[in-house]
């Protein structure tokens, strides 16, 4: 076999083996206009997702927005993201989450609904690693919703940790961390906005 052909074969295998963001497997993915006909790409918003994932929607995966956030604050729309550790995040989660800025009514919401335990945010963007749904569903605690920096790289990069860091760990001295490594959505249902 010629060396160039061998090199090409190796290159192809490498590309195919690398984790690739997967496009949505729903029937809608076969027709872009199902979502994009109504409005331009830049103005897509939560209602687009909730027509299928909200009340009366066709998807069996039910979701409700978390406080005043938009679905795209945490999720990519066409597939997952490669996180900072080089892995593909599950459930189409972004590789980083904007914790400030666009939620200008955040404080009003918190004061109205008295939501506690949100720490003062130091960074605009927080890295997110999500490759496991946690021990509650028999999956590893590592890189789940909130694993308490189990990999000891100094970064709390669970999707719930990036905002709720204080609540998860402030009681560590007294009652212990709050279900670290477990499946947060077992109690805080996505279909109920994680309440």
């Amino acid at each position: 076999m010629r060396a160039s052909n061998l090199l090409l074969a190796v290159l192809m295998l490498t590309l195919l083996a690398a984790p690739q963001p997967a496009f949505a497997s729903s029937p809608q993915s076969k027709n872009c206009n199902y979502c994009h006909k109504a409005r331009p790409i830049w103005s897509m918003r939560a209602a687009t997702c909730l027509t299928c994932h909200g009340p009366g929607g066709s998807s069996s995966l039910r979701a409700a927005a978390h406080i005043q956030m938009d679905c795209r604050d945490c999720h990519m729309t066409h597939g997952g993201s490669i996180n900072w550790l080089g892995e593909l995040n599950s459930k189409f989660l972004r590789k980083d989450v904007d914790r400030t800025g666009q939620h200008s009514d955040e404080q009003d919401y918190y004061s109205r609904y008295s939501i506690p335990h949100i720490k003062a945010l130091d960074e605009n963007y927080a890295q997110v690693v999500f490759t496991s749904r946690g021990t509650g569903v028999g999956e590893p605690s590592l890189h789940s919703f909130a694993d308490g920096d189990q990999d000891r790289n100094g970064i709390y990069d669970g999707i719930c940790e990036v905002c709720h860091l204080e609540f998860l760990y402030q009681n560590e001295q007294a009652s212990g961390p709050h279900h670290i490594g477990e499946t947060c959505t077992a109690c805080h249902l996505h279909s109920n906005g994680f309440r």
């Binding site: 029937p27 809608q28 076969k30 027709n31 206009n33 199902y34 979502c35 006909k37 109504a38 409005r39 830049w42 103005s43 918003r45 939560a46 209602a47 687009t48 909730l50 027509t51 909200g54 009340p55 009366g56 066709s58 409700a64 927005a65 005043q68 938009d70 666009q102 109205r112 609904y113 008295s114 939501i115 506690p116 109920n192 906005g193 309440r195």
Partner: protein
């Protein structure tokens, strides 16, 4: 002579009642503070229909209840608890009909006691997505959109299934309204097949015969209603607006509401009902958590 600063028991005057009073006051304040600290569940209205008199029926998806609201003030007067997430809602003859997404059927409740009386058809599990319903009181029929099974099912108000309405164009019926004459059904329909991605409104006779299709600058008709002047109001959840169409020609007359700007409040209008007495359209918004009103002056939107 008794010290004026002490009572007959020798205890100091003026302080005896204050201590327990302030203690109780502090306790009440603490309890009130605790009550305020509970996370309030915002309203999540989805379907809307007329009840008796000047009352509206609104299904609240996350609160799992059907609310009786005053049609003028839109305030909640009382609620009927539902075991599950309510979608479709309707009222007739002292009964409240609820399309329950969780139990996957249409349940019939006594409107006064809130007791569930029976389910339509085969009961739980028979209608996976009972998205909307329309009631023909004259004939005692209930039309229910069965979104998952691509059909509109017609039940007797007493419960038995009478017949189903199907058509090759009926892909994902989401909403249904009966015209004032009780002769035609307008069914909001989401397209799904690759060749028909756009939504439309399909018009059937009440017997189930397909008559025509209305298409336009919309893709996701979540709610439909008609007025008494030949107008069809179509709530498009993604556009965030209500389109007003001519019921005969399907031509778009106008749009109600302003498309929310990028970065603006999260908005998802869901369903609408016509208020002939006040010449207005009432529109539920699932994300805003309220009912919006639009004036229809002299029969013209």
């Amino acid at each position: 002579m008794m010290d004026s600063r002490k009572n007959y028991l020798g205890r100091s005057r003026g302080t005896g009642w204050r201590k327990p009073f302030f203690s109780v006051a502090v306790l009440v304040a603490i309890l009130a503070g605790c009550a305020d600290s509970k996370v309030e569940q915002p309203d999540t209205p989805v379907r809307i229909a007329w009840a008796q008199g000047a009352q509206l029926l609104v299904s609240d998806y996350q609160k799992q209840s059907v609310q009786f609201r005053d049609s003028q003030t839109l305030t909640v007067q009382r609620s009927l608890a539902v075991k599950g997430h309510p979608l479709a809602v309707g009222y007739t003859q002292g009964k409240v009909l609820v399309g329950n997404e969780t139990t996957q059927c249409v349940e019939v409740y006594d409107s006064t006691s809130g007791v569930m009386l029976y389910s339509l058809g085969d009961g739980p599990g028979s209608i996976p997505l009972p998205n909307d319903l329309a009631i023909d009181e004259a004939s005692g029929r209930v039309f229910v959109t069965d979104s998952s099974n691509h059909r509109v099912e017609v039940f007797s108000l007493a419960g038995p299934l009478l017949y189903s309405i199907t058509d090759r164009l009926l892909i994902q019926p989401t909403s249904v309204v009966l015209d004032a004459a009780g002769e035609h059904l307008y069914v909001g329909n989401l397209g799904l097949a690759p060749s028909t991605y756009g939504g439309n409104v399909l018009v059937f006779t009440v017997a189930g015969q397909f008559e025509r299709s209305i298409a336009g600058d919309f893709t996701h008709p979540k709610g439909v209603t008609v007025d008494d002047a030949g107008h069809l109001y179509l709530v498009d959840a993604i556009l965030g607006q209500v389109l007003v169409l001519d019921t005969l020609t399907g031509v778009e007359i106008t749009k109600l509401g302003v498309e929310p700007p990028y970065g603006g409040p999260h908005k998802m209008p869901f369903d609408a009902v016509f208020d002939g007495g006040n010449q207005r359209i009432l529109v539920t918004d699932y994300l805003l958590g309220k009912i919006e009103t639009y004036a229809v002056t002299g029969g013209n939107p």
